[in-house]
Subunit: 135 residues, 2 copies
């Protein structure tokens, strides 16, 4: 799926260690939100979760996803990126380390030693369909 | 509806000028997210929108709503507040001014002169059903 293009400003923002909020759909059809770390690959947005988390279960059932990002220095500039999630466990351990280095400067096991007990890491790739907002 | 109680830490955070992200459900059942200003009344969370916005149309059709807030000084502390939205136009102009003073120090017409052309202001009251996260 090629998906929609992100603007250069939005790409630059996503390349910084900004927290974004991800929205998924609960089994009863209501919204579920959580903050995540992200990285960008072209026009795709990648985040990490674990096999046992609500987000992953929701996206397995309904891959429709939305991501909101705000510019911390200019909070009235934001984008909502609506798209479809593609899930895989391939590259799961590598992605969480890459994200942890981007956001904390440390490997994930060093930042969060309790993570050794985590369930298997899942890579979520958001393929954008539509971008709303000012970025 | 009495709803669920918020913790003291969560209340204190919501009383600061923090941006939160609100999630609603689109007509096709997919998630829709946007950043908003909020204020708190007891355990309820109030935000403002306008009659013609997507959020309002979505909440009119399906009042299930979710709100995520992160502590800007400690971003791994967050709460997701899931609940039900109650909408009214009563007090709409007063709420947007109160929010604008909280977040910008100015009345809304001064902060955003273009708002004179906005559709009618709507008060959205989120009555929490469940709080997830660390706050």
């Amino acid at each position: 799926m090629p998906g929609t293009a992100l603007s250069d400003r939005l790409k630059a923002l996503l390349d910084r260690p900004v927290f974004v909020v991800v929205g998924t759909i609960q089994p009863d059809g209501s919204p579920q939100l959580s903050p995540v770390w992200v990285m960008r690959e072209g026009d795709h947005i990648l985040f990490s979760t674990t096999a046992d988390r609500r987000k992953r279960k929701n996206l397995d059932r309904d891959p429709r996803v939305s991501v909101v990002v705000q510019d911390p220095e200019s909070p009235y500039e934001y984008a909502e990126i609506r798209g479809t999630a593609e899930l895989t466990t391939e590259g799961g351990p590598e992605l969480i380390d890459e994200l942890s280095l981007k956001y904390t400067g440390k490997k994930y096991a060093e930042f969060n030693p309790a993570a050794a007990q985590d369930a298997e890491r899942v890579v979520v790739r958001v393929v954008p369909r539509k971008v709303v907002g000012t970025l």
